[in-house]
């Protein structure tokens, strides 16, 4: 296995600008077979990283979007009792009603275990779930197996998936959970990094537009009293809008005009605060 890892080092994806430090951490986590926990502001590319890893290592990506009401069992497997009940009453399917296994559907973690090749498993926004979910899940990921009670069968991972877990720091994660992960905090990119990120998304973008858009963006991020600061995603969408507007001139940005402010600020109090502050840019 370790030889394979040596050959398959993560070097970044086509739409993802990789921080050197982060690349090291990803590679160490893959080698140590540890889940990698990523924390950071929304829009720093936590989720994108998993996509980039999957692309670079040419593995399939399985995404588990955690919801607050989710129970661990949902992520592992589902016993589709309703279909079975239906089949037993009407008997018009090819499934064998007496065989419960026909009614077991794999959840996302289950799929990643059952897959014949090694996959990347992204567990997105783990902090939404409650602590029990988190701890129990790590047990499963540690053991690389779980039981299906209904058919008394143990599912073992054929290949240990590369696991990336993201958290928006809504809640603190428990100590045992943290103990079993490698940790990295993605800081918000510096302007230079941001320029590279934008360039990756808009190949051959006009230099002047790039510079003034990024400069304006960081200026907007400085505005005080904003609940949700615009992040990378907003910047990309904003530039897309600027580029598609035939009336837009780069000089407007330099002059302090900020068109399409609504793309950057999505909460109405934030929008009002920002609009007010932008008014002062022109002065």
């Amino acid at each position: 296995m370790s030889k394979e890892i040596q050959n398959r080092k993560f070097k970044g994806g086509s739409k993802y600008v990789l921080d050197e430090e982060l690349a090291k951490i990803v590679n160490i986590s893959i080698a140590l077979e540890m889940p990698l926990l990523l924390k950071g502001e929304p829009g720093t590319g936590k989720t994108m990283l998993a996509h980039a890893i999957a692309e670079a290592l040419q593995m399939r990506l399985i995404v588990l979007n955690v919801k607050s009401s989710m129970k661990l069992i949902d992520a592992l497997y589902q016993y589709d009792t309703l279909t079975r009940l239906n089949d037993s009453r009407f008997g018009d399917s090819k499934r064998d009603v007496s065989n419960i296994e026909d009614y077991i559907k794999m959840g996302k973690i289950g799929q990643s275990f059952a897959s014949d090749e090694r996959v990347v498993l992204l567990i997105d926004e783990i902090d939404k779930a409650d602590t029990d979910f988190q701890d129990d899940m790590l047990d499963v990921l540690d053991q690389m197996e779980f039981d299906i009670i209904e058919i008394d069968k143990t599912i073992q991972a054929k290949n240990r998936p590369v696991i990336v877990i993201t958290s928006n720091a809504k809640k603190d994660l428990s100590d045992p959970f943290l103990g079993r992960c490698n940790f990295h905090h993605i800081a918000f990119p510096e302007p230079d990094m941001m320029r590279k990120i934008v360039e990756v998304h808009f190949t051959g973008i006009d230099k002047e537009l790039l510079d003034s858009a990024v400069r304006t963006f960081y200026r907007l991020r400085e505005i005080k009293g904003i609940e949700k600061k615009p992040a990378t995603r907003e910047l990309i969408n904003w530039i897309r809008a600027l580029r598609s507007d035939p009336d837009f001139r780069v000089k407007d940005l330099v002059k302090g005009e900020v068109p399409f402010l609504g793309i950057l600020y999505k909460k109405s109090p934030d929008y009002a605060v920002a609009q007010n502050a932008v008014g002062r840019f022109r002065a």
């Binding site: 430090e21 951490i25 140590l32 540890m34 009792t81 037993s88 100590d175 009293g225």
Partner: protein, 397 residues
């Protein structure tokens, strides 16, 4: 190997577990770590589990692998100052050489690390001399600190280059803002406050739990068995009382306002009141404290389970707190001194805290803070303090 590094991390208060240390050893044995830079990254991601400790980690790392002095705040300050000065001076190597008393050619032979060390040593001498009353090394010029200063030997200071050594990155203390004692940012505040949520099952069992119903029905061999649940509701009521008057609170108003914005979305019910310096007969619902008074005597009508949070610097003239008509507003003098009013609030709402933006080291020097501390548990307005305060009011009893 690296055992003392591990213990040092533990000593400064980073929660590092032996398991994670063994895991680091495993990484080392696997040949994954080939340089100090790799070690910096690997050890941090394996040992340190929260960005709040990144700053401490940086300090320990710089101390262990570069001999940067640790913990004494002065020493850290010096290295900060030194770095800034060095950056400044590297734009003009001749001046630097002059100041350090070495030739420019010799200067170019030093590695950046040696140079910084040499510089720090000199600075230390200078500080000591400073106590004797002599002039400190002056700043060379007033130009703003820029990024791409250069060293005759080719050193690049600061800036965005990723080719910096790990030690220097550690010395930059990039994560200072995330550290626990660092200044509060909006999102951190939100994070701390979100822990105030308290979802409890409430009301009649009127919701059909479909999954359970199906499961139980199947277990019952198809005989319908319906399972009901109570619905979950956030039952927490919170009263925020904010000192928004007077110049002594001015620096904190912005911070406190953000606190409001965040708080609004969090609770079942949130009432906000304002006061100036301390509380007398009324709290005010409007920030101007003019048009919407709320008599204190009405408070017992509210749910005693309400969490009462007061944010203020608790700093005022002692008579404002202790005298029978201490209020600086004439209309509010009913004959009860403010401290009795505060005691009344503390008794009405067993879950109450006072959050103070003044750093705790200064608390002992202000008489009114000491007095109010006897009435309310007091916490500082930092991430750490806010967390403790939230922990305190969320306790069951």
């Amino acid at each position: 190997m690296f055992v003392d590094f591990f213990y040092l991390l533990k000593k400064v208060g980073i929660p590092v577990s032996p398991t994670s240390f063994l895991r680091l050893q495993k990484a080392l044995n696997m040949g994954l770590v080939n340089s100090v830079d790799d070690f910096y990254t690997a050890a941090r991601s394996i040992l340190v589990k929260s960005e709040r400790y990144f700053d401490l980690y940086d300090q320990v790392f710089a101390h262990r692998f570069q001999g940067v002095e640790l913990k004494e705040p002065e020493a850290i300050e010096i290295s900060e100052v030194a770095r800034a000065l060095l950056e400044e001076w590297l734009k003009n190597p001749r001046e630097l050489a002059d100041l350090l008393g070495i030739k420019e050619e010799d200067l170019s032979k030093l590695t950046p690390e040696e140079l910084l060390q040499y510089f720090l040593d000199r600075l230390k001498e200078q500080t000591e001399a400073h106590h004797g009353g002599k002039k400190w090394i002056g700043t060379g010029g007033t130009s703003p600190v820029g990024h791409s200063g250069y060293h005759p030997g080719g050193m690049r200071v600061g800036g965005v280059s990723r080719n910096k050594s790990a030690v220097k990155m550690a010395m930059e203390r990039r994560y200072r803002d995330y550290s626990q004692e660092g200044p509060l940012t909006e999102s951190q505040m939100g994070e701390a406050l979100k822990r105030l949520r308290n979802m409890v099952p409430h009301g009649p069992k009127d919701r059909v739990n479909i999954d359970e119903t199906i499961y139980e029905t199947m277990k019952n061999a198809g005989e319908i068995e319906i399972v009901f649940d109570q619905s979950l509701r956030d039952r927490l009521k919170v009263i925020l009382a904010i000192d928004n008057g007077g110049w002594s609170m001015d620096p904190y108003i912005g911070l406190v306002q953000t606190l409001f914005n965040y708080a609004r979305a969090q609770f079942k019910e949130l009432k906000t009141f304002f006061f100036h310096n301390t509380i007398y007969d009324y709290l005010w619902e409007d920030p101007q404290r003019r048009s919407k008074p709320f008599p204190l005597d009405e408070l017992p009508r509210l749910d005693p389970e309400t969490r009462f949070i007061i944010i203020g610097d608790a700093s005022m003239a002692p008579y404002e707190l202790l005298s029978t008509d201490g209020s600086i507003y004439v209309g509010e003098r009913s004959g009860k001194p403010s401290y009795m009013r505060l005691e009344f609030i503390a008794k009405t709402f067993p879950h109450s805290v006072w959050i103070n933006p003044v750093p705790p080291v200064e608390w002992a020097y202000t008489r009114t803070i000491l007095h109010i501390q006897e009435i309310f548990p007091m916490f500082e307005l930092t991430l750490d303090g806010l967390e403790k305060a939230v922990g305190h009011i969320m306790r069951k009893n």
